[in-house]
Subunit: 193 residues, 2 copies
């Protein structure tokens, strides 16, 4: 059980980071926004990096919850389960005003100069890709994808193309790049032979 103060800081941080990025985020603005005193922040976090890694952990907890739900959804064929994850993610983006993906944002801003964020964000995308790979493997087992398809690569591709579509969605504040990418990808995946 996460302490409510810690949870409030992480949730407000996630929102501010998505809009402003890492370096532009001031701890003081976060404290003003949440009405939480500085001492409480430093009780829960060593520094800004530690805090933002905590935001990423929270983000990934939510991702894994949705991903597990989609991977295990026996009511839909496996390829639709994979698509379902991104459709739920798109709904989240809509609620946030189409600001794209926090992982993509932090990955772009920080992975050139910070080994910590470079490896943490890569790990996050790999975890998402592993969930998608599970759906694609189910699709392969039941004959919806050819036997010789490298489903690991195909899952990575989907995650990566999604990240690019999420950037364009952020630039345009629109869902269209997300939908166009999903349509193209799944139509191509279904035609593999």
């Amino acid at each position: 059980m996460v302490h409510p103060t810690k949870q409030a800081l992480l949730e407000a941080g996630a929102e501010m980071l998505l809009e402003q990025g890492y370096h532009a985020l001031g701890i003081q603005s976060l404290l003003t926004e949440t009405g939480i005193p500085k001492g409480s922040f430093y009780h829960h976090f060593n520094n800004k990096e530690d805090f933002v890694l905590g935001v990423v952990d929270l983000y990934m907890d939510q991702v894994h919850e949705v991903l597990d739900e989609c991977v295990k959804d026996q009511s839909r064929p496996p390829l639709e389960r994979a698509r379902g994850f991104f459709e739920k993610t798109r709904t989240k983006y809509r609620e946030e005003g189409y600001l794209g993906c926090l992982l993509g944002g932090l990955g772009q801003e920080l992975s050139g100069a910070s080994d910590v964020f470079q490896s943490r964000i890569e790990q996050c995308l790999s975890e998402i890709s592993a969930g998608i790979e599970a759906c694609l493997r189910q699709a392969q087992t039941q004959g919806d994808l050819p036997e010789d398809t490298d489903v690991g690569t195909l899952a990575d591709l989907l995650v990566n193309c999604w990240e690019g579509a999420a950037l364009r969605s952020r630039l345009r504040r629109s869902p269209d790049p997300l939908d166009e990418m999903l349509d193209f990808y799944f139509s191509a995946a279904e035609s593999l032979d």
Copy 2:
């Protein structure tokens, strides 16, 4: 003809921005790096935003040069001309140590909070997409793409998926995500009917 001091600042800035992003870049580090005095910087640029917009302009000059060359390359079929642009971009990424795309980096970091960068980076990606669209239209005219394909959307898709692959390339310091994306996209585009 760009003043040599201005050119030196822009070139060093492009390299530093690709690694560190916008907010982490200090004008003082740039001056130390280039050995150029502060007065010269402020002779050529009003402020950091003005400077970084200048870096983006320089970047786009280089992009348009490569793009024009690829679009007009009659020695290759049109779909290969489009692919050729990204292959040349990949070579540039290799020379930079696979740090991904400056436009993607600035777009992610800044487009949530800055209208100026939001619209400038969107414009850059649209310009690249327009060049790719010209190749895809040539492909359509000679029957390599179906008549009813929306080549504008297909060009945007390629640019967007590339941006996602460039992020993953940056996270892994590897060309593999770039190559996998190009293979998938062009194989799918060639199978459209």
